[in-house]
């Protein structure tokens, strides 16, 4: 069958095998002849990281194994989705310790991408709340790893893009909450400097993220809406409802163009009239605004899009961001949503994306001139010592990757030691020379 990531670029022929039990995964790995096999959950990584000749679909590995209501410690199979976790545990007063911008990801995928959320500056990545994982190795053997047991395998697997083995099960800690609501405070800023200052000023806020109007220029460059959030202490523990909105087919390529994107950005910036606003909002629209429209990726048309997410070190923040935002504004390639966030310190995982500094994520529709433009941005990012997020990537070069992920050799060593390089390879890993 033809498969692609969330960005619908690239697409590839793949043979997909659905597995229903840990035993089946082991059996399949023991007998597979393929050297191009990759596990795949809900297919929400954007580019080619979950594409290969043979796909091992883990969505049906979705049992819960244990839950301790006194500590919030939960063990579940890798195919359990964040949406399902929230549905079951929010009513009992528990929330995800870290969540990305969509709840349609699996636990296994979240670990393989080592996802971060709006609380990264305080709470780190998802893997930092994981106590242990069960991993099926290339041989089919199943082993436990954690920060203390086979630590090198644990640090390679968290953020390892499925290239070390098949994550079967994980134990992690949920976060206690008293309400499903988030107390949101938002600030309207005039420019990038003010935005970055506000991030600093509010670094004690549990959640923080800014939406940038990436088409504004001059002294308005980088004007933003900064949104802070805290779990409310009042309000009901009500889980989200499933949205019925759907984009049934790919939209015409022209739907999202320079003018519609500029109009949207201007409207979005001006939707808040005061410079400071406050409201209580359910976690669903706060964390997952785009989950309300199923298949929103089809808005970009059948040629697809790519999300360009990079991080720059803190000291390079204002200067580097300014340079990149200028390039983007000049190119007139607006992004529908551009999201800025301050990261806290990096963790020990070899390929985890976040490092202390600022990250910006932009969606770009694929067209002939896009990749040369992104190459230019890559150079700026590398100049400032930054890097790109593998989960969003569909096109970076091997050189860019190896230069910006200095621990790639350690990662590769661990992979070789466990024979993973002989079996687990995605289109992305081949492109990146892993």
């Amino acid at each position: 069958m033809k498969l692609s990531g969330w960005g619908q670029y690239p697409t590839a022929q793949a043979e997909s095998r659905v597995v229903h039990s840990k035993r089946k995964v082991s059996e399949l790995l023991a007998e597979t002849q393929s050297a191009h096999l990759i596990p795949r959950g809900l297919g929400r990584s954007y580019g080619d990281s979950a594409l290969a000749e043979q796909i091992l679909n883990t969505q049906h590995l979705n049992h819960f194994m244990a839950f301790d209501p006194s500590t919030g410690e939960i063990s579940c199979a890798a195919g359990v989705s964040f949406a399902e976790l929230l549905e079951i545990f929010v009513p009992r007063g528990w929330f995800l310790p870290v969540t990305p911008g969509t709840k349609f990801v699996t636990v296994g995928g979240a670990i393989a991408s080592d996802v971060h959320g709006k609380n990264h500056h305080l709470d780190g990545c998802f893997s930092q709340h994981v106590l242990s994982i069960k991993l099926a190795l290339a041989s089919g053997e199943i082993i436990d790893c954690s920060p203390s047991e086979h630590p090198e395998l644990f640090h390679a697997t968290c953020g390892g893009m499925g290239l070390t083995g098949v994550i079967l099960q994980a134990t992690f800690r949920l976060l206690p909450i008293e309400s499903a609501l988030i107390e949101e405070r938002s600030y309207k800023t005039k420019n990038l400097a003010e935005t970055l200052e506000l991030f600093e000023e509010h670094e004690a806020s549990t959640y923080s993220v800014a939406w940038i109007d990436c088409l504004s220029t001059g002294d308005k460059l980088g004007r933003s809406l900064l949104m802070l959030g805290e779990h409310a202490t009042r309000g009901e523990l009500e889980a989200h409802k499933n949205s019925k909105l759907n984009v049934p087919i790919n939209m015409p390529n022209l739907l999202l163009n320079r003018y519609s994107i500029q109009a949207f950005n201007t409207l979005y910036y001006h939707k808040q009239t005061q410079t400071h606003a406050q409201r209580s909002v359910h976690y669903e629209p706060y964390f997952y605004p785009l989950d309300g429209i199923h298949n929103w990726n089809r808005l970009y048309g059948k040629n697809g899009f790519t999300q360009y997410q990079f991080v720059l070190p803190k000291e390079a923040g204002l200067e580097g961001m300014t340079r990149i935002l200028k390039e983007i504004a000049q190119s007139k390639r607006g992004s529908f949503l551009a999201v800025l966030k301050a990261f806290g310190a990096a963790n020990e995982n070899y390929l985890s994306f976040p490092t202390e500094g600022y990250t910006l994520a932009l969606d770009f529709k694929i067209d002939a001139a896009l990749f040369p433009f992104l190459e230019e941005l890559d150079h700026i990012v590398l100049d400032y010592g930054g890097r790109l997020y593998l989960t969003k990537d569909a096109r970076m070069s091997e050189t860019t990757f190896k230069q910006s992920y200095p621990l790639w050799e350690t990662f590769q060593e661990v992979r070789t030691r466990y024979g993973a390089d002989q079996v687990f390879n995605s289109l992305q890993s081949q492109r990146l020379g892993l």
Partner: protein, 245 residues
Amino acid sequence: MKNILVIGATSAIAEQTIRLYAKQNTNLYLLGRDEEKLQAIAQDAQIRGAESASFHVLDFNNFDRHPKVLEAAFAKLGTIDLVLIAHGSLPNQQACEESVETTLRELNTNAISGIALLTLIANQMEMQGCGTIAVITSVAGDRGRQSNYVYGAAKGMLSIFLQGLRNRLFKKGVHVLDIKPGFVDTPMTAEFKKGPLWAKPETIAKQIVKAVERRKNTLYTPWFWSIIMLIIRNIPEVVFKKLKL
């Protein structure tokens, strides 16, 4: 609170149905062949909210063990609100044509074992005078077709048995639901090419829960199968026998 007995609990449709009932504070008693899977499903159901979830291993073609195992289930659950029978297999039609033994085994798995269990369950339910018996049969039981008539005959037998049972138990306050799914994407049908008519077990499970609540007699699921089967049932045999179905 609801007390539910699930037979063939490791089938994909049964498991999804169990998950939905688990959210409603139910007491579950699960029967199936594979102990490891049963244990995983019972544990999962408890974490999802079931008040209790017990299980017992039973090979349904081992008829001699039925009475004892069912007695234990009845004793554990007390008054039973729902019995869901979901076990079955998808025979290879070709293999059945070549072997009497295979044909008889498939008939046992897909019809006779269910009827044996239902005979005992019906008496128990009649005695308690309430509750629902829900059995997963198949749209294949509506008309024999060359591609899978052994399976069709077994499911059809089960459906006719259920009609009679419904008729008998109606005045005793026991409801009988015949669930007829179309193509469902489960491990049982892993080898098939999937098309637009295929449904997920989650979808089927939701409709089962609804049909039990509304005391439906027959549930074609997803709904469009009621139309497809209406047409298929009404094609004259002189024409039907020439079709490749």
